[in-house]
Symmetry: C2
DNA sequence: TGGTTCATGTAACAAGTTACATGATTAG
DNA sequence: CTAATCATGTAACTTGTTACATGAACCA
């Protein structure tokens, strides 16, 4: 296996909360999930078919309006079981973050390289924006304490992502400050 | 294009420092580079051929011992140019970290979930180990200040990776501490 | 009636992993 | 002499992205 097909478990995880259509799932990857995983509908629809053949999900067709058919998928008992297994199994592989900017930095040899300031500055801007964006999401998604209780994992990882961005921003600022002053 | 083929630039970046064989490059991905990017030899050898047809690198054959042939690749002027372009071009896409553990956490709904403590504990152990490992590398790779000068980018990102792990460990400890006490 | 969103699919391609395959050199 | 490492390649497969393709429903 290439790397365990995580997509199937994300789909199962989402369907474990409530029945959804392929379209709903696609939207979920643009919103909540999108913060830490991406998938396009062209990957989702075939995966849904595979999961159904395997018996982990099933669907019923509902009709909106005159004839628009939607396939509303729900998880089966077997699906719930393998989802539980996946979550319970250890996660010993720490994924190396494939950050293109970090990669570029690696090839900068001297701290006098004229490209360094603008490169760091650009990232500072990007990560600051992302930081504010996450701060906003944390505020809007978990307004009342009850939602924090009902979606504890989501709360934990959003908070984690926020902290990670905060560190990234700090590191960029420090690196910029440590640069030799141009004259 | 799928996502810009970063591998080719990593290879060019490494060859920009000194001529290397495919085998050397493979080793580099297991060591320095391995901290933030992976590639197997089965991906490297074909990429080398493509880069050579494109005129960005060239090789000469050297013979070790009686008949073992090595292809020592070096970068061409054109190769240097597109490497410079890649580094100079902005990097506006922040890669979402595809962290499997974070994904699993997302599907944990309650802070009373019995799996939470062991899951956090496992990650704490893994990230602590990685933290120490990075600390060690920073110490061994940059013993004298001169090397820090000559490989400034490498120094920056190693230090960044260390800080990132430090934050991860802190977050895990905090999350563990915040868990409701079992009775 | 016309543009945006809803809704579902396939095709072609790029990137990345695992497995298959072979042979030379070196150090103990 | 034999095991580990050096050295180079291909094949098969999985995962992920972009593009192609179609049509219904909804809102202004």
């Amino acid at each position: 296996m290439a790397q365990k097909n995580k997509l199937q478990f994300i789909i199962l995880g989402l369907l474990n909360q409530q029945p959804l259509t392929g379209y709903d799932l696609t939207k979920a990857f643009e919103n909540e999930i999108g913060e830490f995983w991406q998938a396009q509908h062209s990957q989702i629809y075939p995966q849904l078919k595979r999961l159904e053949t395997q018996g982990y999900i099933a669907h019923e067709v509902t009709v909106s309006g005159a004839k628009l058919e939607k396939k509303l998928y729900h998880i089966t008992t077997e699906g719930s079981a393998i989802l539980r297994d996946w979550i319970s199994t250890g996660t010993p592989d720490l994924t190396a973050t494939k950050d293109e900017f970090i990669l570029k930095l690696y090839f900068i040899r001297s701290n006098h390289d004229p490209r360094l300031p603008e490169m760091l500055q650009e990232q500072l801007q990007l990560h600051t924006t992302k930081y504010h964006h996450l701060q906003q999401r944390l505020k809007t998604v978990f307004t009342d304490p009850a939602s924090k209780q009902a979606h504890y994992g989501h709360y934990l990882i959003l908070q984690h992502a926020l902290g990670r961005e905060e560190y990234y921003v700090d590191w960029l600022k420090q690196s910029l400050a440590a640069l030799p002053t141009a004259r």
